[in-house]
Structures are given as structure tokens and as C-alpha cells.
Amino acid sequence: MRLFNRYLIILVLVSALINVLLAMLGQADLSVYFIVNVIAYLVITLLHVYFNPPARRALNGVSVVLFSGFLVIVAMKVFEILAK
């Protein structure tokens, strides 16, 4: 289970780093935090290509949900800009 542990540790460290950096930069928009975290999650998950098929299927499910959330936020931002 070393691969799973390494993957989770990388996710924890990267998301902590992203949140700290955005907080230090004074970012006050929650959707920005969410989008950057989702992008980091998708990239790290894609880089772990050697997961076994059940793990890959399960993580694909989580990725689809997160990507849907990402698309909803992007769509809302686009509507916001168009409505102005």
C-alpha cells in the first residue's frame, strides 16, 4: 500500500501548500481555492498512472465529480461576466 500512501501524502502536502499560498496572497474568493485544488488533484491523479484497475476506476469517479464542480463554477463565472 506504499503507492496509495505516497499518493495521499502528496495530495495532502500539495493542497496544504496551495491553501497557504493563496491565503498569503490575500485571496478571498472560495471558488478560486476550489478550482486550484481540483486542478492539482486532477494533475496528481493523472501522474499516478500505475494504480491497479479498481483504484483507477474509483479515483475516476471522484475526478468526474470534482471536474463537474469545476465546470459549474466556470460556467457561473462566464454567466457573471456576460451578465455585466
Binding site: R2, A23, Y33, Y50, N52, A55, L59
Partner: protein, 247 residues
């Protein structure tokens, strides 16, 4: 024992889901709300990984592996076989790659002459004394789990071995291959189950080397033999010899 990934996942998801509204409405802190959302994401990821764990515990798998190895070792010891095993691709052994331990060294070129029968004791030459013991190795069973059959270039072989050793079995950290026409050198970093000086390992190699040899022979469609296995600073160096047909 409860699945630790599931426990971690449930803890993070529930903790994050409770803390997020508190951080947003009561503490009025966007960074803390973001941390809670990250905890929820990590929680669901951990719960997803929990379902991908094997059905049996590592201890049970270890017992099954050692039992099989000891039985094969007892057979080899009883027959006094000291020759190195030759790993054969599936097309020579009725659809499943296996290793043949020759009773006497030499005559390997006879292994190219066609399919061998599916029995334990196989004759592979016109000379009735040229025979060997065909055994199934750990790598023979893992080939079915590869998404695609690897091609014969080093990158594909390296990817296939890494997929099995790192992704499926989790018994190594990384694999690197150097290949020429006659020899293949495989460096496995962080290998568990590395080489020990026992009868089984002397004939068939360590499980890691055995898996690497099986995948390589299947990719090349040529018999291979584990020539040498050394360990140095958590890196196993496996040297495979590709056997070519002698015309």
C-alpha cells in the same frame, strides 16, 4: 482490522463537512473554509482507495506465496536440480508462460522447436534424456492483469514491469531497463522479496526477478534466463539473458 483508508476517509469527509459551514459562517474565514473543502476531497479520495485494497491481508498472501515456494523448492531439491530456469513465452506452453528447469544444462536451442506439452515433466529434444520440469511462476499469473500485452521495445517492457511491480503488487518503487540484443539489465528500486541464497531462488530467481523475466519473455516472444541478481543499497539489479535460436 478495519480498513484504515476507509476510517481516514470517513474522518476527513465528516470533519471537513462539519467544519466548512462553521469556518464560512461563524469564523468568516475563506482560507479555513478552503482547508475544510480540501479535507472533504481527501476524505472521498481515501474512501475510494479503500475499495481498491485486496480481499486478503498481506500476511495471508505471504503465507500462500511461501507455501508455494517451499513446495517447489522441495521438488527441486529432491531432484537435485541446480540449473537456472528458462522462462518461456505463452505460445510455447499452451497459453500460459512458464519456466522450465532443465535437468541438464545445454540444449536450450531445442526449446525453440515448437510447443511443449502442458505436463510437469517436459521433453524438448529428440534425445530422451533432455527434459526439464515446467513450473508456474508468480509472473505467469500476473500477465493476465496487464491492460495491454507489451511490445518488444524497452519502454513498453519497462512500463509493463513497473505497472505490475509498483501498481498491482506494490513490491517495488521504480523500475529501469537497459537492453541490448543479448542481455537485459533491470534495476528495481525499493524491491521487497529481494534475492536470498536459497535453492528456489538459485533456480528460479526471486519473485521480483521472476515477474520481470516472465513479462520480458512474453514481450520479446523469446525464452529468457535470469543470469544474475544482486542487491545494493535497496536496488536489485537483475541480469536477463535472451536465448536465441542456434541454427
Amino acid at each position: 482490522m478495519k480498513n484504515p483508508y476507509r476510517l481516514l476517509g470517513i474522518g476527513l469527509a465528516i470533519g471537513g463537512a462539519i467544519f466548512a459551514p462553521l469556518a464560512y459562517f461563524l469564523i468568516v474565514s475563506i482560507p479555513l473554509t478552503a482547508v475544510s473543502l480540501s479535507a472533504v476531497i481527501l476524505g472521498f479520495t481515501s474512501m475510494a482507495l479503500a475499495n481498491a485494497r485486496p480481499y486478503i491481508s498481506p500476511e495471508s498472501a505471504d503465507i500462500v506465496l511461501k507455501t508455494g515456494m517451499e513446495n517447489t523448492a522441495a521438488l527441486l531439491e529432491e531432484l537435485g536440480l541446480n540449473t537456472k530456469a528458462i522462462y518461456l513465452p505463452s505460445n510455447t506452453r499452451e497459453g500460459k508462460p512458464q519456466a522450465v528447469i532443465p535437468l541438464v544444462a545445454g540444449n536450450e536451442s531445442a526449446l525453440f522447436k515448437g510447443r511443449l506439452n502442458g505436463r510437469l515433466i517436459v521433453r524438448y529434444d529428440d534425445n530422451p534424456e533432455v527434459m526439464g520440469i515446467a513450473v508456474t511462476t508468480p509472473g505467469s499469473l500476473n500477465l493476465d492483469q496487464l491492460p495491454n500485452k507489451p511490445g518488444n521495445n524497452p519502454d513498453e517492457i519497462e512500463a509493463a514491469i513497473t505497472y505490475v511491480l509498483t501498481g498491482l503488487l506494490d513490491i517495488a518503487n521504480a523500475v529501469k531497463i537497459n537492453m541490448n540484443e543479448k542481455q537485459i539489465i533491470i534495476q528495481v528500486t525499493g524491491a521487497k522479496l529481494s534475492y536470498e541464497n536459497t535453492w528456489y531462488y538459485r533456480c528460479l530467481g526471486s519473485p521480483v526477478a521472476s515477474i520481470a523475466a516472465t513479462i520480458t519473455c512474453e514481450a520479446l516472444q523469446k525464452p529468457v534466463r535470469i543470469v544474475e541478481e544482486t542487491n545494493h543499497k535497496k536496488t536489485s539489479r537483475i541480469t536477463l539473458e535472451v536465448l536465441h535460436e542456434v541454427v
